[in-house]
Symmetry: C2
Subunit: 343 residues, 2 copies
């Protein structure tokens, strides 16, 4: 594959969403002279919205439907930033048209949907990745390097917390929009745990928490037990501010990812702080440390250039396991989505 | 009660134990001209050991048995620093002789024993307190003041971690000596939680962890749910290093007790750090921040001067509930002591 042409799918009516930052950052990644052309088209359910988005980000083509975008032959990969409940249908639509896809986390509403997406990627022989951008930050690379080197000995425990009062955001609170702490924030904690434990399946999962009025999880505490007496404690919340940090305890020391564990720029290894500054933003961005989205864009580009169907750092097996752990936690907390009732 | 005369009970054969520091700090508390006479006697199961301890700490009288000390009429309060399994019998012995007692934490091996001690205190009309020294540190007073004032709004969550690799210490690892993470370290986390939640009984307790070869809990993660969707997460370990801090999350802010949560000198209120330096040590001490034992000694003195039978800041109800929570956690983890089988 010679050229990697970034493309975008954006849901209509969305304002300050990740897609906006992603467009800016992924475009900025692709410096003049590189073999990538950046974002060549955007689609939304509303042509006017797509047109405005395209104009704002200097994207050549705008479509008023995902189908039109799916038919565009001049596209290598589609970034899907719709709301969670649309990930499955939109993902399948593009993969059916032999488009590679990067889908915002959570990959889908539950593990059944995740399996369906993976099957679609296999059937159509396309690239599929859950957009867990954290995994591609230099801090995450350094964490993997340190663990691989045995810098803190054998890992004994991981703790990860993420939360903020966010129930005023309808997408996060509404059950029909895929709201809830686990799907939106808990997934950051759990992906960190699964990264540290190399995608190993936990032996047991204990979830405690509470639901908000809409029926989704407001706060969830998950205690996972892994083989060899290793433990993980994840706390996520859309009702309260958490410390938003992560700690790996090993037999020989401790690795801490301080506040901003979901988009980290600092690491503390046995108390010694290391800084990993992000690229500077060329344009104003909506979210904290959004320039870090470039690392994710670069990873996708490298995978496509190598002809890979999944990222070695965010493989399908991790997405499946993430969804299975969240399914089980939701079962214990009594959180169900309509998608859970489809066989 | 005109004079408060401190007294000591020390178990024979013990070297670097808390009793040593307690003797130094409680004596230093009692400045010349105060109405307290300090430590007037020490007892151990071995007269030679008691004599050495007495000499080291300038204690006038040494006894080779607890019975002799219990018969000494010139004593107001006995500090019991024996190993956990002896707390019940030693406590009852002194209370029967109408002596007030301060017993090292955990007050006893399980909630049945705690109830027995409380009944003994009631029957003999004496003062009884579990020596949770943390509660009397200026940091703890400030936490209670801030919570009372609603400084961080309504409390939503408490997290407390305490742990270090300590299984090489037989007292901490051996089942027959009352070993295990919960009884020795978890109690610090749980007492913090119960302090914040004013001794309220949790609605549910979920314990996950693992046992070491001796059958006691090496690491335990407890998730407690309180009324009004409030949560607490406590992690304790004698097999691994933990962050040893505590965080209270409220609707309006956060209170953090950084490392040394069991003997704290620092507080972070909404990110702003406050220092609470301890009195300087007049003599070398065995444990971190041991001069803080003075606050506990002062509390006991004030309680006795007021004729109280329990400390308002470490009441019997809290000791009972602490023991009940630990009993339940041990039940879930499969940790039993011989004392659990006595009806």
């Amino acid at each position: 594959m010679g050229k990697t042409r970034w493309n975008r799918v954006n849901s209509a009516g969305a304002g300050k969403i990740r897609s906006d930052d992603f467009s800016r950052c992924s475009t900025e990644t692709l410096t003049p002279g590189s073999d990538a052309r950046g974002i060549v088209a955007v689609a939304a359910r509303d042509l006017q919205h797509a047109g405005e988005f395209a104009k704002k980000h200097n994207i050549p083509r705008a479509y008023g439907s995902y189908d039109e975008l799916a038919q565009d032959p001049d596209i290598d990969v589609v970034y899907i930033g719709t709301i969670h409940p649309h990930h499955l249908s939109t993902g399948k639509l593009f993969m059916k048209s032999k488009k590679n896809v990067v889908i915002e986390k959570p990959l889908a509403m539950n593990s059944r949907e995740v399996r369906e997406l993976i099957t679609a990627a296999q059937d159509n022989s396309v690239f599929l990745m859950e957009a867990i951008w954290t995994r591609f930050f230099p801090v995450s690379l350094e964490v993997r390097r340190l663990l691989g080197q045995g810098e803190v000995g054998d890992v004994q425990m991981v703790r990860a917390d993420l939360g903020a009062p966010l129930t005023h955001i309808s997408r996060l609170a509404a059950r029909e929009l895929g709201g809830g702490a686990l799907l939106d924030l808990g997934i950051y904690c759990l992906q960190f745990v699964l990264m540290v434990f190399n995608g190993e399946r936990p032996e047991s999962i204990q979830a405690t928490g509470h639901c908000i009025d809409t029926g989704v999880d407001g706060t969830a505490v998950l205690v996972l037990r892994f083989s060899g007496n290793r433990l993980a404690v994840c706390t996520c919340s859309i009702t309260m501010m958490m410390t938003c940090d992560a700690v790996i305890t090993g037999t020989k020391g401790t690795i801490k990812v301080p506040h901003h564990m979901w988009c980290p720029t600092t690491l503390e290894v046995n108390g010694k702080e290391m800084q990993f500054p992000l690229p500077e933003a060329g344009m104003p961005l909506n979210f904290t440390n959004s320039t870090g989205l470039r690392y994710e864009a670069e990873e996708v580009r490298h995978c496509l250039l190598k002809g890979l169907k999944e990222s070695p750092w965010m493989p399908w097996a991790h997405s499946s396991l993430l969804a299975e752990v969240i399914d089980e936690a939701r079962r214990q907390l009594g959180v169900t989505y309509d998608q859970d009732n489809i066989q």
